[in-house]
Symmetry: none
Subunit: 213 residues, 4 copies
DNA sequence: AATGAATGAGTATTCATTCAT
DNA sequence: GATGAATGAATACTCATTCAT
């Protein structure tokens, strides 16, 4: 059983354009990815034009379309890569955790650390959530995380550590709360960031213990 | 102390354009509001053009600008109206509740019922969250709800009903979870709706009791 | 021989719409003329909308078209009226002057005083000069003034007071210089007004020396 | 001391958009400049749409915006170029003239020749005078010419060649007269052009007599 | 006389994408 | 691989004028 997110890697948009790239070409491609990540984070998807990206690198627009089929497919690649990174840090965090509750806690902490480490990640995900073109893909990823978390919850219920209830719904509750915390406290979108060291502890408390005595 | 959300009613965008409208005019205005509510819900803000709205009603484009200053201001009006309605249903639900925990529960149930009653409401809010022009306004509203919920939480802590912790953070957790539930279960955005009658009960359980035994 | 400007009073746009107006109607009409004079002066022709004018008076747009055929015809009326007033003050100034040089001087002084008395007059004329629709009419008026001044110049040449030369061209020189002085020193268009008492004296000096033997 | 007009060459709008243009691109850009010069001259600024310009060349609208930031900036470029050309022909004319009166005469003749050579130049300047967006720039240029002419006048006063008086005002008189002559005699705006060979001579007479002792 | 409502052609500008070289 | 050039549909908003009441 996997302990993290198992995003579907197949499907539309999945593989980068089939093209044999020279060393120089790969470098150029990577430059585009980096520049666009920065720009999308700062200005949003529609706020960033293909021209912006090319200007940033000082290249003509043809370059963009040499490496990417479209603006949309570039963003999809970015999104997929962010989700993959998130999944990997979650998986790493779970390794070695035997206790289902411990796994959930580790996942929560890993997620918070992930978004704290690079606010651009949150930005990409939030942007993706905004547009139908991407939200389906995001949804899929989300469902996998939920299913995974639900598995841990079920284990916990079986072992008596977790109260009985709808595990899918609980998982959604956790996910919603965590994502909201991250949005509120790491937001770089014009509002003052209000990160606090104990955020992870309190988030874990909230999700695991609830608010009642 | 108010028991619900107290969205600021003053400020920019607050009052509809000052214009004396005849009965016919008010009707037309209302038609525009309704049509645009529908179209924005279905196609999003940028996906809906002023032309779409006018075509829907079979009128010239000038009509739109007779009643509204701009597309943006119409959307703001829609947004304000949705937030106001939400606030009112929350306030109604709180009336008569003495117990702080009861108030929180009532607020949660009212919110869920609200978005269930009309999926377009959620759509408008989500759309607003997407664009900086509106997200500030939304943010303000959110902060008020959070502050309000935090007040109930503090009362509960004082009375020993609620565990000690950061009330603002707890309030954000509740809000994030609820909003996420609503998004997942009432979403009409291409994904099959999966509403379930016991959603409110389980949401209340999650938020109030937590997931641990 | 006339001593001033004899603007053609016939032609297109010439008579106000044929309509019997009640006392109240005449008043309303006058209000429109006054308000639009002010607005055109401040904001220019295209910068002033029919809506602006009606808003200024707090009336509906129908009112405007009850009294005026079009925005254009209102402006023509304004223009005609300004030119008429200018002509009248010039004529008054000439009365009693026997000497042709004295007549020219009087005309110059009268013109300067006229535009100094009400900067809006200049504004209307300048606006008229900007648009083909009105510039023809203005041109006609100008030609009459020129012809008139040329007559004085010819008389002066006959009497030996004025050097020989093309009288029409001299007249244009005077007119051009005067109008430019007025524009530069009475301009209210964002540039600081720099009116100076001795302007008329110096203008007369410049123009008369230019034509004197 | 400069002997002509020293239009400010720095400031906003001053440099054309920085873009590397191929030979083909430069050609296209030049085509746009030429076509728009013609159209602006014939139809005025607001009377000429970006669409007109592109249609004239049989290209898509995007082309325009590839080479120019906006319609306004294109017109500014046109205006700046016309003023620069005018200044250059004035400067050339002054070279070698030692006598201040001679310099003034040369400047007058150069200006008249300039506008006679290409009526479109006048049209551009007149158009610029119509719109606040451009009139400030024009004003600056004008002030420089006036200051320059005033310098010559002062020299002439010192040497006793020119009567005493306000040099700035005299300079404005000359400028106003010349510009008016040009407008009246070279106008192509629907009125028959009535150019006459001796115009320059008579203009010089009028202006110099006006200022001579 | 007057009002509010409606019209609709008109305009500058943007931008993802394609193409010729 | 890369460039600059070109495309053209799309969009929000304006405003003189007309109309129904």
């Amino acid at each position: 059983m996997t302990g993290g997110v198992a995003f579907r890697l197949a499907g539309p948009y999945c593989y980068p354009m089939e093209k044999k790239l020279t060393k120089r070409g790969s470098k150029r491609r990577e430059q585009i990815v980096e520049a666009s990540f920065r720009l999308f984070s700062e200005q949003g998807y529609h706020g960033t034009t293909v021209g912006d990206i090319c200007d940033e690198l000082g290249v003509g627009k043809g370059v963009f379309y040499w490496y990417f089929k479209s603006k949309e497919s570039l963003f999809m690649e970015l999104l997929r890569s962010v989700l993959l990174k998130l999944r990997r840090s979650q998986q790493q965090a779970l390794e070695g955790e035997q206790d289902p509750v411990g796994r959930i806690e580790a996942g929560i902490r890993a997620s918070i650390d992930f978004f704290r480490s690079e606010p651009g990640y949150l930005s990409v995900i939030r942007t993706a959530a905004r547009y139908e073109e991407f939200s389906n893909f995001l949804h899929q990823g989300q469902e996998v995380v939920v299913a995974d978390t639900a598995t841990h919850l079920k284990e916990g219920m079986a072992s008596g550590a977790i109260r009985h209830g709808d595990p899918e719904l609980m998982a959604h509750g956790i996910l919603g709360a965590i994502f909201h915390f991250v949005e509120v406290y790491f937001d770089n979108n014009g509002h003052a960031s209000t990160d606090r060291p104990q955020l992870a502890d309190e988030a874990v408390s909230f999700c695991l213990k609830g608010v009642l005595v």
